[in-house]
Subunit: 341 residues, 2 copies
Amino acid sequence: MLNSRQLKILQLIIDDFIASGAPVGSRTISKKSALGISSATVRNEMADLEELGYLYQPHTSAGRIPSDQGYRIYVDSLSLDKAIGQREKNLIRSLLISGKIRAEEVIENAAHLIAEITGLVVVASYPGFKKHSLSNLKLIKISETKVLLILISDNEVVKNLTLSFSGTTQSILDEISNALLRNLEGSTIEDITVKKISKLKYDLKNYAEVIDYLVPILRDTMKNIDEVEYRVEGFDNILSVPEFSDGTKARRMYQLFENKTIFKDIFDQITAEGIDIRIGEENEVEELRECSLITTTYRYQARDFGKIAVIGPKRMDYRGIISTLEYVSNTLSDIFSGIYL
Amino acid sequence: MLNSRQLKILQLIIDDFIASGAPVGSRTISKKSALGISSATVRNEMADLEELGYLYQPHTSAGRIPSDQGYRIYVDSLSLDKAIGQREKNLIRSLLISGKIRAEEVIENAAHLIAEITGLVVVASYPGFKKHSLSNLKLIKISETKVLLILISDNEVVKNLTLSFSGTTQSILDEISNALLRNLEGSTIEDITVKKISKLKYDLKNYAEVIDYLVPILRDTMKNIDEVEYRVEGFDNILSVPEFSDGTKARRMYQLFENKTIFKDIFDQITAEGIDIRIGEENEVEELRECSLITTTYRYQARDFGKIAVIGPKRMDYRGIISTLEYVSNTLSDIFSGIYL
DNA sequence: TATTAGCACTCAATCGATATGAGTGCTAAC
DNA sequence: GTTAGCACTCATATCGATTGAGTGCTAATA
């Protein structure tokens, strides 16, 4: 479709636009390119590229701006060789392997780091929970009226739930905990049903009354476990991006990031491993139609995938972001596979 | 210092400025006031009020804007009768007593609600931890290499800490947990020292080796417990306030709210119970010099106080905010004193 | 046939001059 | 003490002219 000179020109225009944010004129390209081509020739090519839908003019006498299609060609033709150097890689690696033990903290670190490097907003998902099997469980007395339920999945995710539950002692709770664990260990968390919990009564005949009281409370509480949680880092970066710095837009963005269900939808759509790029209108989510979204997956333990997304204006440094994201997600996969423990 | 007419005029000017955000002229006040006074008279009074430092003009031919001192007089002279009606009170009460069990959730709810009502940013502190005594403790195995330490204070705050700790079983951990609790129960959390933990060795001679291994890990982890944590709600509101909606200012604000140590300082300064109002330059924190900060305390259990602050432009609805804040904090005190359980 | 120089044309952005009007301060009269 | 009246100030809005970056088209050139 595009000959190599057209592609070259398109790339130069987009590079320039990403850097400057202003429509790019033919003279700029004529001077920049090593093609030895006059501005008039560039103009002709530009007119062709516009006809093909890769560029457009905000008004007649202005330069060209890339369309979503233009960005798409540009991104697809990017070579990522040496987009980030060994020094940056070493820095990233050393910052991520910083002795944090909890997976959540490692992920927050990673998201924060990417936000710093890219100057954009980063959303990261924590490892899943409900589809994993229960590996440990404990009931702990908080006060006369409250009990804490700790659930641990086999992918090492910890959940705290508080139950309204009076008139018991820690030693009773310990016995119940042990019995519950014996009965439930290995079931996936979403499979823990009233039926399974109720079996406990046979196991702990002495506490039948307590169990009857506990069962409905447990069931209600388990329903409220969130499947996946998200972390947003670097929101303030977007406030410096001219495209979003006006109050109304910034506010809409903030509300977008507050609404975690949207990110469930976004992440659920992305099934392929590796880098996924959505430019402008390619985003199904209305609110992101003016943005580009670059997502990557990292492997968390054997079967689980976590996701990290960078969100910013379409005018972003795709090369650098893709490389950074790839490198960070690989490092995370390494960390979670236990290589650095 | 001020006669009653001057005070009345000052109040009218500030009311108008709070509503409109634009400098207030003499004609506006002359028409509005029921004083039956001409604009010329108002101008004379305004000139006096300016001389006294309660008003100023952004430029010669503009109306007046209240100074920090002006706001101070205004706020001190506010009557709060019926600032919020019974209907609003009932609504607030019913939304707060919504069956949430965890104190953190109740506080988040409250902060969110205040942010909604006031249209401003709300910062709330969670109950303290370190100065309270330990009431329960449990070590729970997460994986071959990780152990979860749960600490519960007598004011019902729960902390999770993850330790890097291999080669043990849950039943050993249970024994250690029980022994630890026996030794430490009742000590305040900040008083838990290596010495106290080390005593364990006499208690659990069989596990001396495990204890030796555990002690330094425990000590390091305990050091990293945050004393107080904060919740920020309604940041997006500030993006709609003209005074802050430009990108740079909004960003600085965001970073202010991200930096939780600043709120430790701010809250620590406020020692009195009840409502505390800081207007503009009255704030010690540089970043809040263009804002007003209204803080209130609620009683959390017997000895503990939590704090909630509303932050916004000096041009804010003091009457409504103070009343809302007072009502919410009283309701929280009631909830935490157990009245609604 | 592809390239380019040249030129007329477009249009956002900038600038300066002018007008508008909200609001003041002062004075003199009530 | 209050107020009508008036001159004055100054931010803001308006309008026309200018500028300049950039285009599209045409005709000449390689």
